[in-house]
C-alpha cells in the first residue's frame, strides 16, 4: 500500500465501499441535491431592497390580486448558488463532445463573447435613434453581406429569431410571391426524412403536406418529385445535406423540375455547416433558405442563446422580403423600416416578422466567427466537420450498422439499430449508457425513416484525441451489449444526478405547477 511523505495512505483503502456510502446531506461531494427555488426561498425575506411605497392609491379596481404573489425570497448568494448548482447537473458544449446530430453543437469561441460585450454593442437599445447606432446597423448589413456571399443568394431577411421562424419567413415570401402572380396553390412537398419543422411550417401556412418517399439510398429521387408536381404545388422543402447525412446529389434536377412546375424551392439550411465555402445554395436553384447562426456560425444554443435564423432569398423572392432591412445606395446604408418606405424603392415586403431588427447579440457573435475564420477558414471548418464525421463512421462501421452501406457521409453519420438486434438493448438504452460515460447522447430515433436511428454529428470542434476517445467508448459499449451485459444499458444511467426518468408518467400526468405545501396545523403536529 502506497504512503506519502507524511505517512498518509496515498491509495484509498476501501474503494468498493464508497459506492454504498451514504451522506448526511444526500449530497455526493460536488454533486449537490438541489431543491426547487420555491423550496429554498422564503416569502418573508428578499435579496433586494425595495422601498415600500407609502402613499399610493391602487387603480386596478377588481383586477387587483386577491392572493399575495408569493415569490421565493432569496439573498444574492442563495439565488446564485441555486442556478450554478443546477447548471452543474446539465450537459454543455463547454464540458465535452456533444454529438447531437442535425444540431451542429460546435464550440462557441470566446472571441465571439468578447466582441458581443464591447459596450458599443452590448449597451445599444433597439429604440435608440438610428443615427446613434450606425455601427450596429453596419454590423447587421455586413453580416447580411457575408451570408449572401456564402450562399450566392440575392437578398437576406435578418430578423427571424430561429430556424423554424426562418422557415416561416421563407415560406411566407413564397406564398406572397404566388399571390402576386395571382395564384393560390395548396400543396407543399416534403421528403420523409425532413426535420419536423418543415411540415409544421407548411401546415401553419395552410398548405397540405405531401410526403416524398425516400429512395433506397436515403436521398430524394427526382422522378418521385416529378410524379408529385402539379399546378397546386407551391414549394418543395428540402434539406441538403439531408438528415441522413447524405448530399442530395440530384438537387439541381429537382430544383429545375420544381421551377418548371411554377413552384419554389425552399432549402432547410440546418445542415449548412457541411457545405459552407464548398457549395453555394443559390447556384443549386434554391429560392429561400434559413441559416441557423446558432449552428453553422457558432453562436450559442439554448441556455446561452437565443438562436437566430436569417433567411436568404433568390432574385424572384427578394422584393417580398420582410422589413426591416438595410439597403445600400453606393456606400450609403439606409435602414428601411416600413412597407411605405420599401415601396418607394419598388419593393413589396410581405410585412414584418419581429418588432425589432433580430438577434443583435447573435449577429455580433456570428460575424466574429466569420471574420476570425475568413473565407479559407470557413471552408476548412466545413471540410473538418465532414472529415470528423467520416472518421467516426470509418472507425465504427465494422461494429455498428449503416443503413445505406459503407459509403462516405457528410457532416453527420447515421446508424440504425440492427447491430443491437437480439441483444435486448434498444437505441434508448444505448443512449442512456452513454450518459454514464460522460457523453451527451447522439440524436436518437430521428430521422424517422430509419429504425432506431442514431445520428452522430461531431462538428469540426473535436480534436483527433477527442474523437478517438469517443470511438473507443462507443466500441466498448457495443462490445458490452453484444457480450450480453444488458444491465449496463437497461439500468442506465447509474451515475447521473437522477436515474432514468419515467417519461411516460411525465407525459401522462405532468406536474406543471408548484404548490406551496399547507403548513402543518397545531392539531396535526400534536
Amino acid at each position: 500500500m502506497g504512503m506519502n511523505s507524511q505517512g498518509r495512505l496515498s491509495t484509498p483503502a476501501e474503494t468498493a465501499a464508497v459506492a454504498e456510502h451514504k451522506t448526511f446531506t444526500g449530497n455526493k461531494a460536488l454533486q449537490i441535491e438541489e431543491p426547487l427555488i420555491f423550496e429554498i426561498g422564503r416569502n418573508e425575506v428578499t435579496g433586494v431592497d425595495i422601498d415600500v411605497p407609502l402613499d399610493f392609491k391602487p387603480r386596478l379596481g377588481s383586477h387587483r390580486r386577491k392572493q399575495p404573489i408569493d415569490p421565493p425570497g432569496l439573498s444574492e448568494p442563495e439565488a446564485m448558488r441555486h442556478y450554478v448548482r443546477l447548471s452543474q447537473k446539465n450537459c454543455a458544449i463547454d464540458m465535452g463532445l456533444y454529438p447531437l446530430g442535425s444540431c451542429t453543437m460546435k464550440h462557441n469561441p470566446r472571441l465571439n463573447e468578447k466582441m458581443a460585450r464591447l459596450p458599443g454593442f452590448a449597451d445599444v437599445h433597439p429604440l435608440q435613434p438610428l443615427f446613434t447606432v450606425s455601427g450596429a446597423v453596419e454590423l447587421i448589413a455586413e453580416l447580411g453581406k457575408w451570408l449572401l456571399v456564402t450562399t450566392g443568394m440575392a437578398s437576406v431577411a435578418m430578423s427571424p429569431k430561429a430556424g423554424a421562424h426562418g422557415e416561416l419567413c421563407g415560406m411566407m415570401s413564397i406564398k406572397v410571391a404566388l399571390t402576386a402572380r395571382g395564384e393560390t396553390r395548396t400543396k407543399v412537398l416534403v421528403p420523409e426524412s425532413a426535420h419536423g419543422t418543415n411540415p409544421a411550417t407548411a401546415a401553419l401556412l395552410g398548405y397540405k403536406v405531401v410526403t416524398i418517399p425516400a429512395r433506397e439510398d436515403g436521398t430524394v429521387d427526382p422522378a418521385s418529385v416529378r410524379e408529385l408536381l402539379d399546378d397546386q404545388v407551391a414549394a418543395i422543402m428540402l434539406t441538403n445535406p439531408n438528415t441522413c447525412g447524405l448530399f442530395e446529389r440530384d438537387i439541381k434536377e429537382i430544383a429545375d423540375a420544381v421551377h418548371e412546375a411554377g413552384a419554389y424551392f425552399y432549402c432547410d439550411g440546418a445542415n449548412f455547416n457541411a457545405i459552407v465555402g464548398k457549395v453555394k445554395p443559390g447556384e443549386l436553384g434554391v429560392d429561400a433558405m434559413h441559416i441557423n447562426l446558432h449552428k453553422t456560425f457558432s453562436t450559442p444554443h439554448g441556455g446561452g442563446g437565443p438562436g437566430a435564423g436569417p433567411v436568404v432569398l433568390s432574385e424572384k423572392l427578394a422584393p417580398f422580403a420582410p422589413v426591416p432591412y438595410v439597403r445600400f445606395e453606393g456606400d450609403t446604408a439606409e435602414f428601411v423600416e416600413t412597407r411605405a418606405k420599401a415601396k418607394e424603392h419598388g419593393d413589396t415586403p410581405f410585412g414584418r416578422m419581429t418588432a425589432f431588427h433580430g438577434q443583435m447579440g447573435m449577429f455580433i457573435r456570428a460575424l466574429s466567427f466569420m471574420l476570425s475564420h475568413g473565407c479559407d477558414g470557413l471552408k476548412q471548418a466545413s471540410e473538418d466537420a465532414v472529415l470528423n464525421a467520416n472518421y467516426i463512421r470509418a472507425s465504427l462501421q465494422d461494429l455498428m450498422s449503416l443503413p445505406f452501406g459503407k459509403r462516405p457521409n457528410m457532416h453527420e453519420v447515421l446508424f440504425d439499430d440492427s447491430f443491437l438486434k437480439d441483444t435486448g438493448v434498444t437505441t434508448l438504452d444505448f443512449a442512456k449508457a452513454m450518459i454514464d460515460e460522460g457523453y451527451h447522447p447522439m440524436t436518437m430515433y430521428f430521422p424517422l425513416v430509419i429504425h432506431g436511428a442514431l445520428l452522430i454529428e461531431p462538428t469540426e470542434s473535436e480534436s483527433l484525441a477527442s474523437l478517438d476517445l469517443f470511438v473507443a467508448t462507443l466500441r466498448d459499449l457495443v462490445m458490452s451489449a453484444k457480450r450480453g451485459e444488458t444491465e449496463r444499458f437497461t439500468g442506465a444511467p447509474y451515475h447521473s444526478p437522477r436515474r432514468r426518468l419515467d417519461e411516460t408518467a411525465a407525459a401522462r400526468k405532468p406536474i406543471l405547477k408548484w404548490v406551496r405545501p399547507e403548513p402543518a396545523t397545531a392539531e396535526a403536529t400534536e
Binding site: Y445, L448, E503, T504, A507, R508
Partner: protein, 123 residues
C-alpha cells in the same frame, strides 16, 4: 364477428354493418407507452386512407389511417383519460372507433388473422 387486419397494423372487427377499429398488439409494442390520443368526432365521414386518429407515444406521434370508408358512429372517448389502456388491451377494451361500413368490398383488401401473422413474420 370477423376480424380483419391492415398492413398499417389496424384491426377491423365487423358485426353486421358496423366495424370496430383499433391498433394491433404489434403496433402498440412498436409505439411504446402511449401518452395521448386524438379520435375523430362522431358523424365524421372517412374515406379509406384518410387520417382517422393520432396516437402519441413517448417515442413518436403517428397517424392512424382509416382502413375502410364509412361514418364514425362512436369514439372510445374513455381512452383520452387513460391512454395506457392502448398498451394494456389494444385488441379489446382499447378500441378506437366504431364505423358504419360504406363499402363492404373494401374488406376484401384486408388480411385475416393468419395472413396478418404471416405478414408480421416478414417484418
Amino acid at each position: 364477428m370477423t376480424t380483419y387486419y391492415s398492413k398499417d397494423h389496424e384491426w377491423v372487427a365487423v358485426e353486421g354493418d358496423t366495424a370496430t377499429i383499433g391498433i394491433t398488439d404489434y403496433a402498440q409494442s412498436q409505439l411504446g407507452d402511449v401518452v395521448f390520443l386524438e379520435l375523430p368526432d362522431v358523424g365524421k365521414t372517412l374515406a379509406k386512407g384518410d387520417e382517422a386518429a393520432v396516437v402519441e407515444s413517448v417515442k413518436a406521434a403517428s397517424e392512424v389511417y382509416a382502413a375502410i370508408s364509412g361514418d364514425v358512429s362512436e369514439a372510445n372517448d374513455a381512452l383520452a383519460d387513460e391512454p395506457a389502456k392502448v398498451n394494456e388491451d389494444p385488441e379489446g377494451a382499447a378500441w378506437f372507433i366504431k364505423m358504419t361500413i360504406a363499402n363492404k368490398s373494401e374488406l376484401d383488401e384486408l388480411m385475416d388473422e393468419v395472413a396478418y401473422k404471416a405478414f408480421l413474420e416478414t417484418l
